[in-house]
Amino acid sequence: MSDIKKFMYVNRKAPYGTIYAWESLEVVLIGAAFEQDVSLAFVDDGVYQLCKGQDTTGLGIKNFSATYRALGDYDVSKLYVEKESLEARGLTLDDLMPLTYEDADDDYAEKDSIRVVSSQEMAELFEQSDVLFNF
């Protein structure tokens, strides 16, 4: 396919309470069918979307955190998490779900999808993207 654009989906909000996180995930999954170069960014409260052990029973809504694990199947393998946002919330990489993908260029080796980057690096990633979606 010609004309592959770099799409960056920026997630800034906590997973529940608003529809943004779920909507973003759905758009990513739909968009993945178009074989573009897709990245996800998690900043501010958006980092909570990837936290382990989410339990929505008390909220009475669907716990969609398991769906992030399907991203690898959809060839979405670049999930950037801002280091400063994690630190400000007392979180580390260990608090996040382990998410992986199979690298077709490396004999389908299982690799980590989550990459922690500084806000400086995140700014550069935004700069390099053709399209930014904010959620």
Binding site: E26, L29, I30, K62, F64, A66, R69, A70
Partner: protein, 110 residues
């Protein structure tokens, strides 16, 4: 709309997808297939059960491309291809098989 299974009418949406995921039983799949003149074979059930397991694990119905790849990985390349899956489910393996499996329409499917 609804579908009658064992004398009980279960609610479905305007396209025939089950409204409440938890009401699904294998009889629901059989009843839905019968309405479309499909006899469910072992090969159909393999795909239906696979979809239910996928939903259980990831909370979404996979897109056809993802389904095809995942079936190939689990059941072998002779089943993980669109020709085989479309022969089983001519209305589209995503749409039709998800419906029989009691799942919502796959995300991104029109």
């Amino acid at each position: 709309m609804g579908i009658e299974v064992n004398g009980k009418v279960l609610e479905t949406d305007e396209e025939g997808y089950l409204a409440n995921l938890n009401e699904w039983t294998p009889e629901v799949a059989t009843a839905m297939a019968k309405e479309e003149d499909v006899d469910l074979t072992e090969n159909h059930w393999e795909v239906i059960n696979f979809l239910r397991e996928y939903y259980e694990e990831y909370q979404i119905a996979p897109a056809v491309r993802v389904l095809t790849k995942a079936i190939g990985k689990k059941l072998g390349p002779d089943k993980g291809n669109s020709k085989y899956l479309y022969e089983l489910f001519p209305y589209g393996p995503g749409k039709q098989a998800c419906k029989y499996a009691g799942l919502p329409k796959p995300t991104g499917c029109v």
